[in-house]
Amino acid sequence: MLQIDAKGMYYRELNQKVRSAIANGEKEITLKNVNGQYYIGDGLRGNAAITVEGVPGNDLAAFMDGPTLTIKSNAQDNIANTMNAGKIVIHGNAGDVLGYGMRGGTLHILGDVGYRVGIHMKGLKRQSPTIIVGGTAGDFFGEYMAGGILILLGLNEKDPRPIVGDYLGTGMHGGAIYIRGEVDKNLCGAEVGILEPDEDDLKTLRQYLGDYCKDFKLDIEDIMKKGFKKLLPISLRPYGNLYAY
């Protein structure tokens, strides 16, 4: 268990310290007094567990390949950019463009997220990324989605805002989006179909949400009380007729 005090430290030095600690076999690292440092966990491999105290800066866990990051507060933009494997748990809100081109691993957020979350997520059978958001999401949720799973919960029933913004799943051609409660068809991109989840879907949801609830000490039965909608691309080639050959 290693503690690094990040107070006043430039990101390059901080990340260098983390990388060399992991290279020396450190498995548990706590970063104290983090205040907006970019690129924490960027390109990191292995299976270390890193706890961040304070607000980490943009591009948290970009290209990350294995470790687990626990953020005890809010986080900023571009989290899990093209992330390959590993897990990020955020005990707060997070910003825009999360999980851009994400290829694998898990992103759990307790609070709200901004625009363009889950943009261009990918997936293969064995490697599939997951993002679960406890609060609400902004516009363009799941834009260009090509694979993986996005789950949006809207757990704060007192929040008067809609659970998701406009252009939901626009350009989607793979993967699946699950939204707790009802989905307004008018908010969806033209490429998206709204379905009732079947038995398999509910099993999938229970599996992913079980892990999520453990991270945040929530009761899965409370979450599952309310129904879900499943969003799928209605065509593998939404733009197949756009061109004259």
């Binding site: 390059r12 970019y38 960027d42 571009n78 261009h120 061109y243």
Partner: protein, 502 residues
């Protein structure tokens, strides 16, 4: 449904007397122009694109591909392509696609620039028998260097040099992805790049494991679709390129049609088989120079500070954008002019957006010099480099090196027919159909590409020799050694070139 009102562009014809019914044309055509009619070859000429595969493989020279004499009445204003596109759009409601660079008769500045030579008052150099240096280093250069005395008393460099990529001549291969071109075509580029001591670029389609032995000759690309990008990929090559734009389609994204996404390509890109692979027009994490800087350093952090290149299309405000890119920390700026090729672009975009590479090089080089940051990044110029003369002119205008793609593909059989987007390339280049890609033997065709690079290398040395300079560094940005012919004063001013006779 009635027949298309756009008449075929070409007439594929077979001399029935010469034809020996060997059916090789049927086998070779990727477009299904030919079929067997029982006693003779039948022809569906509307499918012909004049790629000339059948012509080359006909043992009797019985095949001719003619321009269709009845296509439309000649009209200097309403050209064949204008009318054909109108007919096609009326029939489909779609956007006509095209491949390769624009073929419209815009002025070609390279053809209005001439290179100087030595006579009497300064000696030219014989490059065959005297040393001639084409070696080029890509990357940031320090503004000044300091030396110190080592323990052995010898002087050594004190300044810490930023990472440099050494290439044997100022020429690399432009990015072309696995998906847009076949794996065999990528292998040809990789083998030739390694052999010639230059570089190829993966484009945005990931790195197939078969290319790993060539990793020291590879730039890997990150673009808006983020296809195939993971930490192994970022660290696989000698540099990472962020693709913002492409000369053939500035401001619009990539679109690899589902026809070119079989299992293997889908696996590398991590998307469903047969779906269209979409690279969004913007990278949604880059809306500003500050955002670009963020991605550049995200990549540098993930790669222990490998050089990062940023590729942009040459557009009106290219000089200011390039300045921002350098200030954002890029080691290399890759400029792609509007004549640059593409695997697929709407023809309306390809033919009408962007600016020529010649203007862009001059404007960017000027701007970076004025701001005192020209040393901070190397400039690679691309977008229609047809010959070593174009390369030499681009370097004299201010580029550090040039990149070629169309010229390289022609060594593999490409005839610039411009139908790359269909996935039917009979030469096995821009297709994923296994029976077509098998035609492109990487070893054999790499030999031809290596020949081309060596030929250009010799020509560049001859040009330098005639100029009386023995290193390509002395040509770089040396616009005094260029003269314009038939160019107006303003164009000459932008290019920083005097008119011939001055």
């Amino acid at each position: 449904m009635f027949k298309s009102l756009a008449p075929p562009e070409y007439l594929a014809t077979i001399d029935q007397v010469k034809c020996i019914r060997c059916k090789r044309c049927i086998q070779n055509c990727g477009w299904s122009v030919y079929s067997w009619g029982g006693d003779k070859v039948l022809i569906d000429t509307s499918k012909c694109v004049k790629c000339l595969r059948c012509y080359h493989y006909c043992p009797e020279e019985a095949i001719q591909i003619l321009d269709n004499p009845v296509k439309f009445k000649n009209n200097a204003y309403w050209g064949y392509n204008n009318i054909r596109n109108l007919k096609r759009q009326a029939e489909t409601g779609g956007i006509p696609l095209t491949g390769m660079g624009s073929d419209l008769p815009y002025p070609i500045l390279f053809d209005n620039l001439l290179i100087d030579a030595c006579q009497v008052t300064n000696p030219s150099i014989d490059p065959l028998r005297e040393p001639m240096e084409l070696r080029t280093y890509l990357g940031k250069k320090p503004a000044s260097v300091e030396f110190e005395k080592g323990k052995d008393g010898k002087l050594k460099l004190k300044t810490k040099m930023p990472p440099q990529i050494k290439i044997n001549l100022p020429l690399i291969f432009s990015p072309m992805s696995y998906g847009s071109i076949s794996l065999n075509a990528q292998k040809v580029l990789a083998i030739a790049a390694k052999e010639c001591g230059i570089l190829m670029n993966t484009g945005e389609g990931g790195l197939h494991e078969d290319l790993l032995p060539y990793r020291d000759s590879i730039i890997v690309q990150v673009a808006s679709g983020r296809f195939g990008v993971n930490p192994d990929y970022l660290n696989a090559g000698v540099a990472v390129e962020i693709k913002i734009g492409q000369g053939a389609k500035p401001g619009i994204g990539g679109h690899l049609p589902g026809e070119k996404i079989p299992l293997e390509v889908a696996r590398t890109r991590m998307i469903p088989v047969g779906t269209d692979a979409i690279s969004p027009a913007p990278q949604h994490d880059i809306y500003s120079i500050e955002d670009l800087k963020q991605l550049i350093y995200a990549i540098k952090e993930a790669t222990d500070y490998k050089p990062v290149s940023v590729k942009i299309a040459a557009v009106h405000n290219v000089a200011a954008i390039a300045s921002g890119i350098v200030r954002a920390g890029a080691d290399i700026i890759y400029l792609d002019g509007f004549r640059g090729g593409t695997g697929a672009a709407p023809s309306i975009i390809r033919d009408h957006l962007g600016i020529p590479i010649e203007h862009a090089i001059a404007a960017v080089d000027d701007r970076l010099r004025q701001e005192g940051i020209r040393n901070e990044a190397s400039i690679i110029a691309a977008g229609g480099i047809r010959s070593s003369a174009d390369a030499a002119k681009a370097i004299a205008l201010g580029a550090d090196a040039v990149a070629i793609a169309t010229a390289a593909l022609t060594t593999m059989g490409c005839t610039i027919c411009g139908k790359c987007y269909t996935g039917n390339c009979s030469w096995g280049i821009t297709t994923q159909r296994p029976e077509l890609t098998a035609r492109l033997d990487p070893e054999i065709f790499a030999e031809r590409l290596i020949n081309l690079v060596h030929a250009w290398e010799h020509e560049l040395k001859e040009i330098l020799g005639a100029l009386g300079i023995n290193a390509v560094d002395s040509l770089r940005g040396n616009r005094e050694r260029l003269r314009g012919v038939g160019l107006d004063t303003q164009t000459l001013d932008i290019l920083g070139v005097k008119p011939a006779g001055r």
